[in-house]
């Protein structure tokens, strides 16, 4: 076994979010999932117009409102107050899921418990029988968005890789993930499995493979 790179510093969540934001092209219609992906909204470049869609019926979502401008009738999927940009639109749930499931979103950015090398995604439930299940719109995004980007730390708190051959947690969608942004590396999901796009500073591919515990193609 090769030793881990000693000068490796994993990307912070903000750095991961910045990396995702930089990869979103102008004009993209993007749905940002609840949780860690919400950081991406704050990292979007100001010189590009990117349309954020929220499952509860809006597109053209703007930044959080100031404390005196909160309107509880204008919220996002995470039920937090948001604003609407000029050109934004409000619609009902039927239209929103037509947009999501019908292939009208360019990118969905989701958190995950596990991503498999065949693109399977598990992000809504663990195998804990005592947990209250909740799925929301994740399964619709998984099947509907043209590209699904996953944003997650590569390892669990106990050091287990979330990049797997086959998911052991209940699936959200089959073969749906296009790319995974982790604190260790950015990986594409290809027909041949995970393929390296970019390594965090100080990390080499062998060390990444070892930590991930899974085959990763060289770029």
């Amino acid at each position: 076994m090769s030793s881990a790179a000693t000068d490796f510093k994993p990307w912070t969540r903000i750095e991961m979010a910045q990396r995702i934001a930089a990869d979103i092209p102008e004009g993209a219609v993007v749905n940002i999932g609840i949780g860690m992906p919400e950081l991406v909204a704050d990292c979007l470049p100001e010189d590009k117009e990117i349309l954020l869609q929220s499952e509860n019926g809006l597109i053209g979502m703007g930044p959080k409102p100031g404390p005196n401008a909160i309107d509880w009738d204008l919220i996002n999927a995470g039920k937090q107050p948001v604003t609407l940009l000029p050109g934004g639109a409000i619609f009902d749930h039927v239209t929103s899921f037509t947009m999501m499931r019908g292939g009208h979103l360019d990118i969905a950015i989701l958190g995950a418990f596990q991503v498999a090398e065949n693109g399977d995604l598990a992000n809504w439930a663990t195998n804990d029988p005592n947990a209250i299940p909740a799925v929301g719109g994740a399964m619709d995004l998984a099947v509907g968005a043209r590209q699904v980007f996953v944003m997650m730390e590569m390892l669990t708190k106990t050091g287990v890789s979330k990049l797997v051959q086959r998911c052991s947690y209940p699936l959200t969608g089959l073969g749906c993930v296009s790319r995974v942004y982790t604190d260790h590396a950015v990986l594409d999901v290809t027909e041949a499995g995970f393929s390296l796009r970019q390594l965090a500073p100080g990390l080499d591919l062998d060390t990444l493979r070892q930590r991930a515990g899974i085959a990763i193609q060289a770029p």
Binding site: W72, H93, V135, G137, M139, D140
Partner: protein
Amino acid sequence: MIDKTRADTASCVTDIADGATILVGGFGGAGMPHELIDALIAKAPRDLTIVSNNAGNGTKGLAALLAAGLVRKMVCSFPRQADSFVFDELYRSGKVELELVPQGNLVERLRAGGAGIGAFFTPTGFGTPIAAGKETREIDGRQYVLEYPIRADYALIKAHQGDRWGNLVYRKTARNFGPVMATAARITIAQVEDIVPLGSLDPEAIVTPGAFVDRVVAIGTGAAQ
């Protein structure tokens, strides 16, 4: 003269009986018909099946209905929330049944119910535990799951303004499930901030035509949250 307006919330729910299936609008608090739910709690029919995106927040609205012990079953997409402790407790103690439906399937099943569609093949949930035991089919190279309509006895929804024909407009993202739920119930009951004279809503901006609405009650502004 057609007059779907009602003087108070109590008179909107008098005929809701034990065992009814009720659609409840809202996404979190936005669009939640709190005052109609309060009237429903006062009327206290039992063994209700409630279809709503969430399973209540805090101690108001759906959470209060659940706490009152009137709900036998919840059909929803996202029961677990930071402040869903009322539902969580009832669910863990086996006092309420849960049918978990992906949000898009929930919407589409309601839409099918309202639009007279008998069933539909959806890609959502294929290959996941949600599809366990359900009919699946490959169509044009893609895998789908067969899902069935949801139709209900009542829908309780919240809109911004309404008129005596039942036409409704909504406010911002409080629109969410209101329009589709209005189509999928035998009796649709809408609480609005105010009732406006017939003809004062822009006919091209009316979101829910009155043909989908049976009762309208004015609550006044400031009722939300």
